[in-house]
Amino acid sequence: MAEILVELGITFTALAVAGALATRANQSVIPAYILAGVVVGPNPPLSLGPIDLTLVAHRPILDVGAELGVVFLLFFLGLEFSPDRLLARPTRLFGVGATDFLVNFGAGLALAAAFGFPLLTAMFLASIVYISSSAVVTKSLVERGWIADPESDVILGTLVFEDLLIAVVLAILTAVALGGGGVGAVLVSVGRSGAFLAALAAVAVYGTPYVERLLSVEADELFLLFAVGITTLVAGEALVLGVSEAVAAFFVGTAFGQTDHDERLELVVGPTRDLFAAVFFFSIGLTTDVTAFLDVWVLLAVAVVVTSLSKLASGVLGGRVYGLSRRRSLRVGVGLVPRGEFSLVIAALATTAGASIPRTDELASFTVGYVLVMSVLGTVAMQYADGVTAFRSREH
């Protein structure tokens, strides 16, 4: 017990220090959390001169924490996902979302084909490079003050579209990956997964009064326990049935988000997500062998360039579809460049499925490196975009 407690203590302290440093450097905390995991994990760097850095062996308790991180990341995605919002201006939002998907998922597939990945792995790779990071993008929007400008509507609308689509993609990929060999087995798996998720979606759409009553407890403590309990239980049951626990959590979040408790959930359950999401990023770092980046550096370099440009292009196009000026459209493109937590969630799924998906080791190393670069590059690009677009506006 003492050993577990010490390792957990090291974990949280390392996360706190890394987060503080990242914040001071005006950077996203996500790459910092991953790097904290790399530094104290069982892979190189192993020592700093005489100081042994292998402080945290990969303990099962951290795996549970990381899993909860995935569950709560998706839970909050569902919570903030409002069907009304998506349906408010469906055609324009759909146009922007579809452009974003076709261009970036397409770029991912092309990349995978160029590097000779088989189809299933290519689907994972395309999903990883397709999805922007809600956490990094939203935080940067607030920090840069873009949140008050019209481009933020398009950026956030695109994120909502991506989030919904990635829930679908995750559900399918999980079913296929866990279904194992054979077309029949995969079909059964996809069917079961579809039925389970349809049931959850029905609760989300029609069960609002019941969910409302369930969450109507006075004490914050009980409220927290109900929310965390139900979410974890449903996610767990989903996994037992071979359905993506992340997508199940997404639907629980959607169901909860339809009630009047959404603000209270943000306030009371938000810290739970922050804690476990940090552990998730940390555990990604723990399993990362930075020397493996050397094996994938060509793919990494090409992917960074190609997918930055593809996001920029689809964003500018989306902004124009939305009727924004060139300057604001450019910001939409830049704003969507950061990739983060969901790319890691998809890579983690590929790793879990392991044997049935070829070249997952390569995919895992690639994703960590990719997220490290893109989350930092994206935030820095947004700082520069301020200068560039301000300059352009003076020209006119």
Binding site: E80, G145, P150, S152, L156, V160
Partner: protein, 159 residues
Amino acid sequence: MTVYETDVPGVGRKFEYELDGDDRLVLVVHHDGKREVFRRRSAEADSEKLFELDDQQAREFGTLLEGAYFQPLDLERVQVPLGEEIIEWHDVTADSSLVGRSLSESNVRRETGTSILAVQRDGETIANPEPDFEFGAGDVVVALGTRAQHGTLADLASN
């Protein structure tokens, strides 16, 4: 007045308040209650952040903006109409016969026809004072009644 309201997923809610022409005040209300206020002078301009307040500060400052806390009017003349009746504030002076007497003793309701809704004392408001509530000099009586009834109460409160 036109206000555009949008959901900002993961952040909170955004309100855009139209000033003249394209000039807009933009308010972002975060889930944790933080309020950020921006001004965008034209459709193409960048929003400049004006200030940021926490939930409590925003509510307090809001009452100032609303004019509810401090009115640039004479407090004596503040009137809130409710049909025939109005709500008015009356200062209880040291000379008033009310001072030292309780609500039931002074029988304000029978004497003046007004109903006392609340009494403000030292910055605190005592709503629906009990019959044994005793008036003191410096109290502000908030009462409901017709204009004539308020006249009677004003006399009672001042001598």
